[in-house]
Amino acid sequence: MNILITKFKELSYKQMVLFTLIAVCFVASVIFVHHNYSFYELPIAKVIKTNLEDTTEMIDMHNNKDHLFTQQITAEIKNGENKGKILHLTNQYSSSGAYDQEYRVGNELFVSIDTNSKENTELTGSIKDVKRDKFVLYIAWVFIFILLIVGKKQGLFSIISLAVNAVLLSYALDIYLHDPETSLLLICSISVILFTVISLLLVNGFNDKTYAAIIATLLGTFVSLFIAYLVMWVTSGKGLRYEEMQYLTRPYRTVFMAGVFIGSLGAVMDIAITMSSSIFGLYEKNHNISVKALKTSGIDIGKDIMGPMTNILFFAYISGSIPMLILYLKNASPLGFTLSMNLSLELARALAGGIGIVLTIPIGLYTSIYFVNRKRARS
């Protein structure tokens, strides 16, 4: 307890303000998601009682066994003109739950209320969707707190840079959608430049190390995008199954390329900053270090990071397809078909990102050496 008090006294005025601000944001947002029913147009009902009515066993055409359940739900309406009234709902769900789910007491649901129910009788309706905003918010706060506890100041800066990047991305997409004449790739190129400059400056500050990393990142992403384009052009996109981009109202090829572009950016940035910090670190330790020595140690560092980085991208991309792969396989689709339908785009993204990562190693090395030499000439 005493340690806590002394720690508390050590806090500067600025830190106190910051902590209070975060605490206020946290409390306010939690209260908000618990009482934001009136902000939604759709009626929301909170489950207060469930009753399992019926269980049937079923076997589908591929011999998969499953159970179907029917539950009667009593829920209280939380907003709109029927607020406070009791609503009766029926829900059918399976034990696998691919597109349905069992509802439990406390779940909040978006519903539509049947209009034909007469006065005095109880209201009935159907379930539209689940209210999930609470959980997204909780996880977001856990994320913020853990980043702040572990990363302290750097953690705060990374949260800020993530938030700025998210807003920027959303704004860039808005521009594209409002004016489809402008090319998505042009918009993405501009945003990529902004993303890079903002994230690297925020994380590393204004210095030669950062400038070298920015240049290396931009060169690395654009060169790898160019290679990916070239390959798609030479092969005329053979082997890529765009069927997977089901929900798409736009030219899918461009959208896919833009995804490749943005997706590999983070990894390329990571490589660029690792290369430039280690090269500058070697120079700071020994101002007379030869260019040759810098090159060998740079390549050594590069060798160590390229494997893990490509693996990060690989898993981030591929894991999202797991449920779909399982669905295909359980519906007796042949393995080859399943893989090419579901993974071709993800694999292409991962491979293109890997090319960007590996290319950025020499690019980052040489730009850093160039900046080191410039610094040397000046001093």
Partner: protein
């Protein structure tokens, strides 16, 4: 020729040119990891298998490949391995609760329209599969952070053999702080790139903010990104502590045997 073959060939050549032997191993590790992932998916199609346990096993095998195959078996990679497994265990425990309550399993209504020909009643537990999907997305990043902490800590220990356990732990944390920002950034952009089509779709159909936040696809995606960030942040103190503990313990043991 197929796009994938071309891209893979270019990647292989670049990795060999720049990384030599280690580059070759990095390339092969991608294929091994793909194989492990595929096997896991095949095992998951068995309704009697528990996807959570399968994920834990798969993560152990994948971190063996990433740590012991690309590098080699030594004290650095062993502590990195232990920290990875502990972190994954903690993450799996909590994701189970989140996935159950947020009801994000399976497919969104945006996807289901296209799945009309498929039978959705296939007997496997999609809530658990959703949880393991989120965990698998982070495993690459977690092993990477773990090894990036344990290997410089080892260097620090070698330079100051008398360093206390607490100082060693703090130095591990400060290394971790530097990686935290760039790794969360990497994951953020990777997920955004992967979901760009979905984002455009939401905007195109002018979903309201409320509809987007509550939709299954978006919230599942957000939870994946944030959870990956949480995992990356969590592995930093775990790896620092375990590494500090083992390094000092072996030093004490050696001291006793020397006396």
């Amino acid at each position: 020729m197929n796009v994938l073959v071309w891209l893979a060939a270019i990647l292989l050549i670049l990795m060999l040119l720049i990384g030599g032997k280690k580059g070759a191993r990095s390339f092969i590790s991608l294929f091994l990891n793909f194989g492990v992932l595929l096997l896991t998916v095949l095992f998951m199609t068995d309704p009697n298998a528990n996807p959570i346990i399968l994920t834990l096993i798969a993560c152990a095998v994948i971190s063996c490949i990433n740590l012991f195959y690309i590098n080699e078996v030594n004290s650095k990679t062993i502590t990195a391995f232990i920290s990875t497994i502990i972190t994954i265990g903690i993450l799996l425990f909590f994701i189970n609760i989140v996935a159950k309550n947020a009801l994000i399993q399976g497919f969104g209504e945006e996807e289901v329209e296209e799945l009309g020909v498929f039978s959705l009643y296939i007997g496997v537990d999609f809530a658990k599969i959703g949880a393991s999907m989120i965990i698998m997305g982070t495993i690459g990043a977690i092993t990477d952070v773990a090894i990036s902490i344990t290997s410089p800590m080892r260097e620090i220990f070698n330079h100051n053999p008398l360093i206390s356990r607490k100082d060693l732990f703090t130095s591990g944390l400060s290394i971790g702080k530097d990686i935290l920002g760039t790794t969360t950034n990497t994951l953020f952009f990777a997920f955004c790139g992967g979901y760009l089509a979905l984002l455009i779709w939401f905007k195109d159909l002018s979903y309201s903010v409320g509809e987007i936040v509550n939709s299954k696809l978006f919230s599942a995606e957000m939870i994946s990104i944030l959870y990956a960030g949480i995992g990356v942040a969590l592995v930093i103190p775990i790896a620092s502590w375990i590494n500090a503990y083992f390094l000092v313990k072996t030093r004490e043991k050696n001291k006793i045997s020397n006396n």
